[in-house]
């Protein structure tokens, strides 16, 4: 178990990390997700031992490690730019760590060979690393770290330099490798889709603080802050004001005369908060939770009326831009035979409908002050763990996540 306890780090006047606390379980595939410059690399470097935290402590299995130099931790890092040794062959790069630990040469040979075949680089073992393609270098970097059997493997955007096809292939391989070796992986990325696909849990970072930690489902379905909601997938924001707050339903006055209702999520993981009447709030709705209709839905649905401004066909989904009185909603509809037949076109007057269960309640410029963290269902994360690899691939290919903001 890796425990990061109130760690802060500043460079000069810039506070890059502010009071970060995290607990990462043994054997977990844990992702640090956040926009460029939010401090992901800085945090990873503290874990690797390349920098010292300004304040706070890092413990690994009960032992304080933030004071140990990098070469005395049983952690290994896959660097963003790989940092392979250009003067050494593939084999010697992979053997480097074992040689430093004075492992017997016969054992080195067998472990290196085993690792090279695991990453499918055995055929190129004696090549100079400078002659390898990006994907091959990436595998060597991975093998060089993994051959040491690190207790924790730190990966700093290892896939960011690869093209899409290779990246997806490497994601699958990485996940398969992690499931097999059962090492703890801490994976830095700014690609939300990658984080959702690979991780057991994700920490979403924003400007030096952690906004939310949770399983991919929790993060996507129950974002705690508008930032998280916006960063993972895209959301529409509809401003309103609390009219009535009951345990099973909240009534919100919105941009039209029609009231909006908010209900607890269908799985019951997210009970309704208690908010005083008159509080200005913001309802976030994901584009794929909307339905686009030609006539007004029944009262059990929320609805806003508007005009279609733009229709973007995107393969698996079609994106509609619907103009309301003073804002534009983005709606993603799957391209099933049914929706295709409806035949919307630009300028059509339509209704945008969504279920009261699909509302994410936030404050006007931040999280709801009263919202408590959603309860974690262990069964949920276990199900995620046991998804076979093929399915993970299918899920991603299906493109369940809407892009853009």
């Amino acid at each position: 178990m890796l425990e990061i306890k109130s760690v802060s780090k500043s460079f000069g006047k810039a506070d890059v990390l502010r009071d970060i606390s995290l607990t990462i379980k043994e054997g977990e595939f844990f992702s640090l997700l956040g926009p460029s410059g939010c401090g992901k690399t800085t945090l990873l470097r503290l874990l690797g031992g390349f920098d010292r935290p300004g304040t706070g402590e890092i413990h690994h299995n009960g032992v304080r490690i933030d004071t140990l130099p990098a070469n005395q931790r049983r952690f290994n890092m896959v660097f963003q730019r790989y940092a392979l040794f250009p003067h050494l062959s593939v084999r010697d790069n992979v053997a480097f760590g074992l040689r430093m630990k004075k492992v017997a040469s016969r054992e080195i040979a067998s472990r290196v060979d085993e690792m090279l075949s695991l990453v499918q680089m055995a055929a190129l073992a004696s090549r100079s690393v400078t002659t390898l393609s990006g994907g091959q270098q990436q595998r060597v970097a991975l093998a060089r770290a993994l051959v040491n059997r690190p207790e924790v493997l730190l990966l700093d955007e290892p896939l960011s330099a690869l093209d899409l096809k290779l990246r997806q292939q490497m994601q699958v391989e990485l996940l398969a490798l992690q499931r097999r070796l059962k090492h703890t992986f801490i994976f830095v990325t700014h690609d939300q889709e990658e984080a959702l696909t690979l991780s057991d849990r994700i920490a979403v970072m924003n400007d030096g603080v952690i906004d939310q930690v949770g399983t991919p489902q929790e993060i996507y379905e129950y974002p705690r802050t508008p930032f998280v909601a916006r960063f993972i997938g895209s959301v529409n924001a509809i401003d309103g004001e609390i009219k009535d707050c009951r345990p099973d339903v909240i009534i919100v006055g919105g941009p039209t005369k029609r009231m909006m209702t908010v209900r607890p999520s269908r799985d019951g993981f997210r009970p309704l908060p208690v908010i005083p009447q008159g509080t200005p709030i913001r309802i976030l709705v994901r584009p794929e939770k909307f339905k686009i209709l030609k006539s007004a839905p029944g009262p059990e649905q929320n609805a806003l009326d508007g005009t279609i401004r733009e229709i973007l066909y995107q393969g698996p989904v079609t994106q509609f831009f619907v103009q309301l009185r003073d804002q534009i909603l983005i709606i993603a509809q799957p391209n099933t035979a049914v929706t295709a037949r409806k035949g919307f076109s630009g300028g059509d007057k339509v209704f945008v409908a969504w279920a009261p269960e699909d509302c994410l309640l936030m404050g006007r410029d931040g999280p709801l002050p009263v919202l408590e963290s959603p309860p974690v269902d262990p069964a949920l994360s276990d199900a995620q763990l046991q998804l076979p690899l093929g399915i993970m691939e299918d899920v991603r290919m299906a493109g369940g996540v809407a892009q853009g903001g």
């Binding site: 070469n71 940092a83 480097f96 430093m100 630990k101 004696s126 770290a145």
Partner: protein, 299 residues
């Protein structure tokens, strides 16, 4: 100046793709090469097989006597002295220059420019003046003695003049830039994240140095060694000025043949031997390096 600039280019060229050069542009280089290198070499080659006339001058009669004479124990001893001094100078420059170049390469851009200027500034003065400057520094009333005395380390001024230490300091002062500049070029291109990668893989600081930093900056190290060792081998002014002309060096010996004894043929033979020693060892090194690289790639 041009020596280190050429070497600098040599280091930089490794990374540069070969350009097709129009033949006319090659002319100046070819002319320079012919006039300043091949022609003098040809002359001393021919002279080295001639013999000395009775009143100086060169008598064109083929003989090997100059070479036979240079194998004399006295001359071998002089050669040996020169090689020792050059080796000591080159090695000292490397040990002092490497950390300097490292600091320069890792400094901020502004600091880097400042340090580069500081390294080059000595070239603005004549090198004999620099040698005298060292002499003054080490003088009995000089700042070094003053400093030592102020710390109470000495009661009497230390006499540095005409000591091996003074010669060493003079040589290092003079040749250090020739080491620092090629090292700096090498280190400036070095990817310092490799050091972190090595640390990450469990390498101790010493291992990081010898398994990663040194192998990857070897071009700079070799260039620096060549640039310091080669001129130091023929050096004689600094040892004369600071060492009191106590030890005879190849440089003195050759100068004497040309200027004092007027034995140009023997001087030519000695020069040629000196050149052969240097190029011979360089070629040998490059061969070994090429073979080693081939063996590595083939393995």
């Amino acid at each position: 100046m041009s020596a280190w600039r050429a070497g600098w280019r040599k280091v930089a060229e490794k990374a540069r793709p070969r350009l097709r050069r129009p033949p006319l542009l090659v002319l100046p280089a070819a002319g320079w090469f012919l006039w300043f290198l091949l022609a003098p070499l040809a002359i001393i080659f021919v002279y080295s097989f001639a013999s000395k006339g009775v009143y100086g001058g060169v008598v064109m009669k083929f003989s090997l006597s100059n070479y036979v004479r240079s194998a004399d124990l006295i001359y071998l001893h002089i050669f040996w002295n020169s090689i020792k001094l050059a080796t000591l100078t080159a090695a000292s420059c490397l040990l002092i220059g490497y950390p300097m170049a490292y600091v320069m390469a890792t400094a901020s851009a502004r600091m880097r420019a400042f340090l580069l200027v500081m390294v080059v500034v000595p070239f603005w003065t004549n090198f004999v003046v620099r040698a005298y400057a060292v002499k003054v520094l080490l003088g009995e009333q000089g700042p070094v003695n003053a400093l030592l005395a102020s710390f109470g380390l000495i009661s009497e001024p230390v006499v540095f003049a005409n000591t091996a230490f003074a010669v060493w300091l003079g040589m290092v002062t003079n040749y250090l830039p020739f080491m620092v500049l090629p090292l700096y070029v090498s280190l400036e291109k070095f990817d310092f994240s490799l050091l972190e990668a090595a640390r990450d893989l469990g390498a101790s600081p010493v291992k990081v140095l010898f398994k990663v930093l040194v192998p990857l900056t070897k071009p700079g190290i070799v260039t620096g060694l060549v640039f310091t060792f080669t001129p130091a081998l023929g050096e004689f002014v600094i040892p004369d000025l600071l060492g009191g002309a106590k030890t005879m060096l190849v440089g003195n010996l050759i100068t004497e043949q040309f200027l004092k004894t007027r034995d140009w043929p023997f001087g030519s033979a000695l020069s040629l031997l000196l050149i052969l020693t240097v190029t011979g060892s360089l070629v040998l090194y490059l061969r070994m390096e090429a073979r080693r690289q081939k063996a590595e790639e083939g393995a």
